[in-house]
């Protein structure tokens, strides 16, 4: 039963991530997930300080707030200084991550938090925290990933046209008053929320991988946005199952297994496809 929950959560987070990832790959801000996932460490530390380690929702709320602030301030500084966003991203996320590490150093007695856990995550631990709903034990992570999966699907279905137009032609989207920056910010905010939820279940590395890898593979093979999105979903399921077996077979963390399989699948796609620049 436990492995069943692990697979369901992996697939849900992966599905949401590769859906958002399709737009991220087309727009080209693949490092946003990485930056946000590092930047939320101070919020996680404060969350644990307030609420303790067990049955604690504080860190989730605080981390989501910090993630959204980070995403928005990267965009804000980028517009204000007219600097390329890569420099600002690199500065802000390392600054916040270092701050988080120092906070762990300072309150080492009250925060029993291993920064490596935050970095790696481990999908095999998913079933260990439960909610009790109608006398049935439901893994906490299942509820959260179901929630973010549902929000992401709803968001994409409702805004598909606007998302597509503002992704491919920002100027045109402006001209028909479609508010491309609103959709851009919304994708960033969703990525931020997804990142925070994913840190606890699948870890930063796997999150980064499933944000960009399935969508990039689909991008290389598909010719239209619709088929790219569907292909990304299929790729995600295939990579997750293959990676899971690989990880169990050679006995390494699941997140690493899926990411490694994803990297190889992408390399094979790059060699096999001939999409021109």
């Amino acid at each position: 039963m436990e492995w069943f929950w692990v697979i369901v959560v992996l697939l849900l987070v992966g599905s949401a991530a590769s859906l958002l990832g399709s737009f991220i790959v087309l727009k080209g801000f693949g490092m946003l997930g990485d930056a946000i996932s590092h930047a939320v460490l101070p919020a996680i530390v404060i969350g644990y300080l307030i609420g303790g380690i067990y049955d604690n929702q504080w860190f989730l709320i605080l981390a989501i707030i910090l993630a959204v602030i980070t995403a928005l301030s990267i965009e804000w500084l980028h517009q204000k200084t007219r600097m390329y966003p890569d420099g600002i991203m690199g500065l802000i996320f390392t600054f916040l991550f270092a701050l988080g590490l120092l906070m762990i150093d300072l309150w080492t007695y009250s925060v029993d938090l291993d920064p490596e856990c935050v970095l790696f995550g481990e999908a095999a631990y998913i079933p260990f925290s439960f909610f009790v709903i109608n006398q049935a034990l439901v893994p906490k992570q299942l509820l959260f990933s179901l929630g973010i999966w549902f929000i992401t699907i709803m968001f994409t279905v409702a805004g598909f046209r606007a998302l597509a137009i503002s992704t491919f032609d920002t100027v045109y989207a402006h001209s028909i008053r479609m508010m491309p920056s609103f959709w851009q910010y919304s994708v960033s905010v969703l990525v931020a929320i997804l990142t925070v939820i994913a840190i606890e279940s699948v870890g930063i590395v796997l999150l980064l991988s499933i944000l960009v890898v399935p969508a990039s593979i689909a991008f290389l093979w598909a010719k239209r946005l619709h088929s790219m999105i569907i292909l990304a979903q299929i790729t995600n399921i295939a990579l997750t199952s293959a990676g899971l077996f690989f990880a169990i077979y050679v006995d390494i963390p699941i997140s690493a297994g899926i990411s490694i399989i994803g990297g190889f699948a992408l390399l094979i796609s790059v060699i096999l496809t001939r999409k021109k620049k």
Partner: protein
């Protein structure tokens, strides 16, 4: 430097300098995040070497780390050359792939009996105190070599960073220079990662580079400044963490560097956001005060009585360009001793009257200048004079006086207040 051993001090200074240089070149090429990808790749190489040879001495670490960062750089360039994927996305892919390999090797290494596996964990988040005196010569030589390569290619960076088209016409090999950049950073990033940890290394590249970028306008001085501030920041972090018990050096260096980098973005003289804003607000408030004085002069002029006590309503009617806040600015003028308050009315003091007269004189002379010398229709000159009167330098003001010395009336037939008689 009381508690910081000399060899660590030297290592921090040289690595900080070299990191600043690398970051500066990356920043100019908008490829900062490549530093992040390459530093994360260090882990896989180091862990691989450990798994193969059970050896984490510094020379072995160098070999393993450089092999893996070069692999990552090659992967980036390979995917970039063959697909239309955006660079940022490729970085995400390669980062996840290389770091995942590193984690997998690390997990396998945990099962090994050797005690040296803890060394790999320190590589993840950095541990400056682990630097041995025997390792320092390698670091110094590598930093100096790297700096020489960057200095040697200086002219090339200039073109690849700023004007690739002109560079091509000068037969500068742009794309191989860009690849060289990648490989320099790939070989050098181990040093940065060794003191700050692979996760934070990009912070030590970017923060000094930003300081260099925001405080100087030329590539040469930007490079020097970045290198120097990198060295200073690294040493500063080392000194503080040696003094304060329980804080790790790597995060401390990155935190202080990041803090100073952010402050630079916000406050630097040329590009700083906040300073720009503050200057703007200050200007608005000083302009508001000048407008109040001039409105007061207009009221006094109308009554013909220079010690007339005017009300807020009088000022409101006389002023065309209302200040941000009447009450606050009148209070400021009162503190500066330019107006005197009695109840709900104000009078100008002697100094205030002199200032108000000067402003009015300047305004009307500017109107004259625009209408008679620049030949602009009199009904338009008021707004030009209005916006210029606040920013004119004393030198220009003096020239205006000399030029229009004999005029008594402005284009709207109002007297120019040349002297105390008004």
């Amino acid at each position: 430097m009381m508690d910081l051993p000399l060899h660590i001090f030297i290592a921090l200074a040289f690595i900080g300098w070299f990191s600043g240089l690398m970051g500066s070149i990356l920043l100019v090429h908008h490829r900062v995040l490549i530093g992040d990808v390459l530093s994360h790749s260090v882990l896989s190489g180091a862990a691989f070497v450990f798994l193969m040879f059970l050896d984490v001495s510094f020379p072995m670490l160098i070999v393993g780390a450089i092999a893996s960062t070069l692999l990552a750089a090659t992967l980036i360039e390979f995917v970039k050359d063959r697909t239309p994927l955006k660079e940022d996305v490729i970085l995400g892919i390669v980062l996840a792939f290389m770091f995942a390999i590193g984690i997998a090797f690390l997990a396998l290494a945990q099962k090994m009996p050797s005690v040296e596996k803890t060394m790999l964990n320190t590589l993840l988040l950095g541990e400056v105190s682990a630097i041995l005196p025997s390792e320092v010569p390698y670091m110094v030589i590598a930093s100096i070599l790297g700096s020489f390569v960057i200095w040697f290619l200086y002219r090339g960076w200039f073109f690849t960073g700023f004007d690739t088209v002109f560079g091509r016409t000068q037969r500068v090999p742009i794309s191989s220079l860009r690849k060289t950049l990648l490989f320099i950073v790939a070989s050098g990033i181990l040093l940065t990662a060794y003191i700050s940890g692979v996760v934070l290394a990009v912070g030590l590249l970017i923060a000094p580079a930003l300081i260099g970028r925001f405080f100087s306008t030329r590539l040469y001085s930007t490079l020097l400044l970045s290198g120097l501030s990198g060295a200073v920041l690294a040493v500063l972090g080392g000194v503080v963490s040696a003094k304060v018990e329980g804080l790790s050096t790597g995060p401390l260096i990155i935190f202080s560097a990041g803090l100073i980098g952010l402050l630079t973005i916000l406050f630097s003289p040329h590009y700083g956001i906040i300073l720009h804003k503050i200057k703007y607000v200050l200007f608005k408030w000083s302009r508001g005060q000048e407008n109040i004085l001039r409105a007061a002069y207009k009221v006094l002029e109308k009554t013909g009585n220079m010690s007339y006590a005017f009300s807020l309503e009088d000022l409101r009617q006389a002023c065309d360009d209302p200040p941000p806040s009447w009450t606050i600015l009148l209070k400021v003028l009162e503190i500066r001793g330019l107006v005197k308050r009695s109840g709900s009315r104000w009078t100008l003091t002697n100094i205030g009257l002199e200032k108000a007269r000067r402003l009015t004189r300047l305004h009307r002379l500017l109107e004259l200048y625009f209408s008679e010398i620049v030949k602009i229709a009199p009904e338009k000159v008021h707004s030009y004079a209005e916006s210029l009167e606040h920013i004119i330098t004393p030198e220009v003001e003096q020239r205006l006086y000399e030029l229009l010395r004999d005029r008594q009336y402005d284009p709207h037939k109002k007297p120019v207040p040349w002297n105390g008689s008004g």
